[in-house]
Structures are given as C-alpha cells and as structure tokens.
C-alpha cells in the first residue's frame, strides 16, 4: 500500500441482509493527513462505510485496509487495537447521559490509560478548550444544547489523539453558527494534529469548504465521482451536478419507483370504457 494512503477500501460489498447490498463492489483510497468528505443522499451507505472502517461489521466481500492492516472483525484483539487509533463523532453525539461533560471526555482516558487523575484533568480541560467548552466541564449532558453536545463528542473523540477521526453527519440539525463552528473545528483539528479525517455528510457547501478531497456516493453504494472539491463543483456529469447544486429532479428521480399513474388511478380502465 502507498504510504500516502491511510485507509483503502478494496472491492467491498456489504448488506445487513446479504441479499440486499447497501455497498456494491466499491473501491476507495483515503489519503493520510487529509480531510475527505463522503457526500451522498440519505441511505446511500455513507455511515455504513464508516462502520466497516471501524470494524463494526465484516464486509460480505472485499477488504478494508487500515494503515496497512487488513481489518479482520473476527479477531477482536486486532480490531480493538486498530480502534484505539481512531476517534468517531456520532451523528447525535452518543454521549453518556449518566456522566457529566468532563467525565464524558475523560472516559476514554480512564479506560485506556493509567494516567494520574490530575493529568487526566489537564488533558480533558485542554480538549474541552479546543472545542470552546472548557467552561461547561461541570454541566450534565441534559443541560447542553445539540451543538454543544456535538462539540463535547468531538472533544471525547480526540481525547486520545487519534490518527483517524471519523465524523458522521457533523452538521446535521445544527444552526448556522454551530455549523460554522463545527466546520472550522474539523479543519483546524486536522491541520493541528495531522490526523486523517473522514467527514460523512450531505451538507455540500460546508464540506466543499473544508475538504481536501470529496467522494460522492449514490443510492446502492455506487461511487458517482471523486476528486478535489473544485473539480466536483465544475463537473459536467449530470448526477454530480444535480447533487452539488441540490436540484430536486434529475438522474436521481424525485419520485420513488411506482406503477404508472394510469394504472394506479384506474385511468386506463376508464378510457377503455365506451
């Protein structure tokens, strides 16, 4: 594997039910130290792809290579070892609601290290400071807003300084200010830590602004296009143009597949009646 590639997806197919594949024979390379956005409509398999990289599910066929190591989900020790090198921001934060903000960020540190408590305190406050929430350390999770929860989850994801940070819909449901803050944080954290970042989203504008590379996926786990953001924005491909411009109809149909209107409303039978 090229050392510039951190994650490689090789001919991967996957479906929760093997007879209904979500990802069909996809191959991708995610460059080391860069922000790559994975864009696509709802249900096209973006989050599933992150879960495959995290070793949560085994691929039905093909393989996922994590910095040179092929992920084998049957080997729990190997999977856990690789997972210690990644941090993931879940769509709604997935914070532990019985813990405070401080305890949430301290959680991976306490579980994976034997650091003394005063050192854990310093690291947690530094991580919270990086996301602008040092002052919220003592709050309970029920006391923070959705945007704050996302930032706390980000602080937790970077607590162990991971080499790979995966963001699952980091902008979903956020107001414009929170969205701008989240986008800036993703870019800044990537630049400061030299981590590899994968951002799954359907927010075109924010992703194009902060990404080094963009992968566009379509329903059925197809890769429609990939390249630098400016290349995709200038693309002549109708499907790419439809997605980046947010057009309601085009190669991706507005209507869910249905029988012809005449048959559904009984118009053909009426027309046949004299």
């Amino acid at each position: 594997m090229n050392s510039d590639t951190f994650i490689e997806i090789e001919h991967v197919s996957f479906g929760y039910d093997p007879s209904r594949l979500i990802l069909k024979d996809i191959s991708l390379k995610f460059p080391r130290g860069k922000v790559t956005a994975i864009l696509g409509g709802s249900g096209c398999g973006k989050t599933t792809l992150l879960r495959l990289i995290g070793g949560v599910y085994p691929a039905n066929s093909g393989r996922v290579v994590f910095d040179g190591d092929v992920i084998n989900t049957r080997d729990k020790a190997q999977t856990y070892k690789l997972r210690r090198r990644l941090g993931m921001l879940f769509q709604f934060g997935a914070l532990f609601t019985d813990l405070t903000v401080f305890e949430n960020v301290a959680f991976p540190l306490r579980e994976h290290t034997a650091l003394p408590e005063d050192m854990i305190r310093d690291i947690v406050l530094m991580k919270l400071n990086a996301v602008g929430l040092r002052g919220a350390a003592a709050l309970r999770i029920s006391e923070v807003s959705g945007g704050m929860a996302r930032r706390i989850a980000l602080a937790r994801a970077i607590a162990l300084d991971p080499e790979l940070i995966m963001y699952d819909e980091p902008f979903a449901g956020l107001d414009l200010i929170s969205m701008g803050v989240a986008a800036k944080l993703i870019r800044t954290l990537n630049d400061v830590t030299d981590a590899t970042s994968l951002v799954v989203s359907h927010d075109v504008a924010e992703c194009m602004a902060i990404s080094d590379f963009v992968v566009l996926m379509a329903t059925g786990g197809r890769i429609v296009a990939q390249g630098r953001p400016e290349e995709l924005m200038a693309s002549d491909d109708p499907e790419t143009r439809q997605f980046v411009r947010g057009e309601p109809d085009g190669p991706v149909k507005f209507h869910y597949p249905a029988p012809p209107m005449d048959a559904d409303f009984g118009l053909s039978a009426q027309a046949a009646t004299p």
């Binding site: 995290g54 949560v56 999977t79 856990y80 070892k81 997972r83 210690r84 990644l86 993931m88 879940f90 769509q91 709604f92 997935a94 914070l95 532990f96 609601t97 959680f107 991976p108 579980e111 994976h112």
Partner: protein
C-alpha cells in the same frame, strides 16, 4: 411457503435465538474478571439494582406475611393445629414465596429498568460509541449489572421472607392471639437452616441470574426504536416470569423430593 416450511423456518429461528442467547451468556461470563477489576462499577450496580428495589420488596413481603397468617390460621384452626402456624408461614416463605415472589417483583422492578436502560443506550448509540472506543460494552456495562443483580436477589429474597415472618407474627400474635413462644419455638425446632433457608437462597440466586440475564439480553438485542424498547421491556417480564415459575418447579422437585 407451506406449513412444513413455516414450521422448519420457525424451529430454525428458535434454535438460532437460543444459540445466540447462550453465546451472549458465555461472553458475559468471560467478561466477569474484567468487570471485577472495576469493582466500583459493581458496587454502584448493587446499590442501583438492590437498594432501589428494597421498598417494593419489603412492602410486598409484609403484605404477604399478613395475608398468609390470616389464611393459614383459618385453615389450621379447623383441625386444631393453630400452633403450627409459625412453621407453615416460615416454610412457605423461605422455601417458596420468598424466592419466587421476590423474583417476579425483581423482574418487574429491576429487570424492566435494566432492559430500558440498555435499550436506550443502544438507541442513543452509546453502546456503539463504546465499541468504537475499543471498550467492551459487555465488560463495562452489562457484567457489572449482572453481578449487581445476582448479588442483590438473594439478599432481597431473605429480607422478603424475614419481613413476611414479622408480618405474620403481628397478625397471628398481636391480632389473633396465637401464643408468641409457640410461634417462634416451632420454627426453631422444625426449620433447617441448610435444607430450608439454604435451598431458598440457592433458588433466589438462580432466579437472580435468570432475571438479570434475560433483562440484559433483551435490552442489548432490542431494536433501537421506541417500539423496540417497549417490546423488549414487556418480553423481559414475560420471559423472566415464565422461567422463574418453570425453574421453581424443577428446583423444588430436586431439593425437596424427600420428606
């Protein structure tokens, strides 16, 4: 799909479910040493599961003791055997009612709470987050609760029986006028600590394992939707109760087959 195919399909689904549950239990047993290394979590769960079930257990034990004394007195006095009231109440409670009723109440109070808690953790992706942090949710979340349930259950069953006997004493001695010395002395002579109390405790440990494992399994395997959590909570009570009643018969037959 014809009848034979449906039958075969359902049988295979059932067997798969049993195998899955057995594997789940085995994985939890393997995670026990890791969970014990976080002893604080275990203590917190004994408090959460045991202490918070205390009020309902004590209130029920007292009520059962009251009713048992009344009913038994009316039955025994007909045959001139009212002096055996203390013995009958004691054996009924420590051998049967203590473990069984505590198990059923435990499934309703603590079991449903565990299922809903784990189910909501799953729906909120907290379990998935833990997995992706390379932290085994079985060792971190499930096994401390399993140990908490298994430790709490016999203590609650013993307290249920003790309060029940005190309740029976109040009704029999203070209200009906049965001789207090006779009420206690017949227990001392006729109740065997190992055979009666000990077997009752063993039953309650078995019921503790059943209730807690069923509750945790249902929570862990629930569909991550509000309907899924509601369905899993109901299944916890139904399955635990049926298991308790079935196992009680088997254990009673094994423990008390000789007079």
């Amino acid at each position: 799909m014809n009848f034979v195919q449906r039958l075969g399909n359902n049988t295979l689904d059932q067997l798969r479910g049993w195998g899955h549950a057995a594997l789940f239990f085995w994985e939890m047993l393997l995670a026990v040493p890791a969970a014990l290394s976080r002893f604080g979590l275990v203590v917190a769960q004994i408090y959460a599961i045991g202490n918070r079930s205390l009020v309902i257990i004590l209130a029920s034990g007292l009520a059962v003791g009251f009713v048992l004394a009344l009913q038994m007195y009316y039955a025994l006095v007909t045959y001139g055997a009212a002096e055996s009231l203390g013995l009958i109440v004691n054996l009924s409670l420590v051998r049967e009612l203590g473990p069984v009723v505590t198990g059923l109440l435990f499934a309703g109070r603590a079991g449903t709470s565990l299922t809903a808690e784990i189910g909501l953790m799953k729906a909120g992706e907290q379990i998935a987050a833990m997995e992706l942090m390379a932290i085994d949710p079985k060792a971190r979340v499930l096994v401390p609760r399993l140990i908490g349930g298994v430790v709490s259950m016999p203590i609650l069953a013993v307290l249920f029986s003790a309060v029940g006997i005190l309740g029976a004493w109040v009704v029999a001695v203070k209200m009906i006028g049965v001789d207090s010395g006779n009420f206690w002395s017949i227990m001392q002579t006729q109740v065997d600590v190992w055979r009666d109390v000990g077997n009752g405790v063993i039953k309650s440990i078995v019921f503790g394992v059943i209730c807690t494992v069923v509750a945790l399994y249902q929570g862990f395997e629930t569909e991550a939707t509000p309907e899924g959590v509601a369905y899993a909570t109901t299944r916890t009570v139904v399955i635990s109760s049926l298991w308790i009643l079935g196992m009680d018969f088997i254990l009673t037959a094994l423990m008390f087959s000789t007079p």
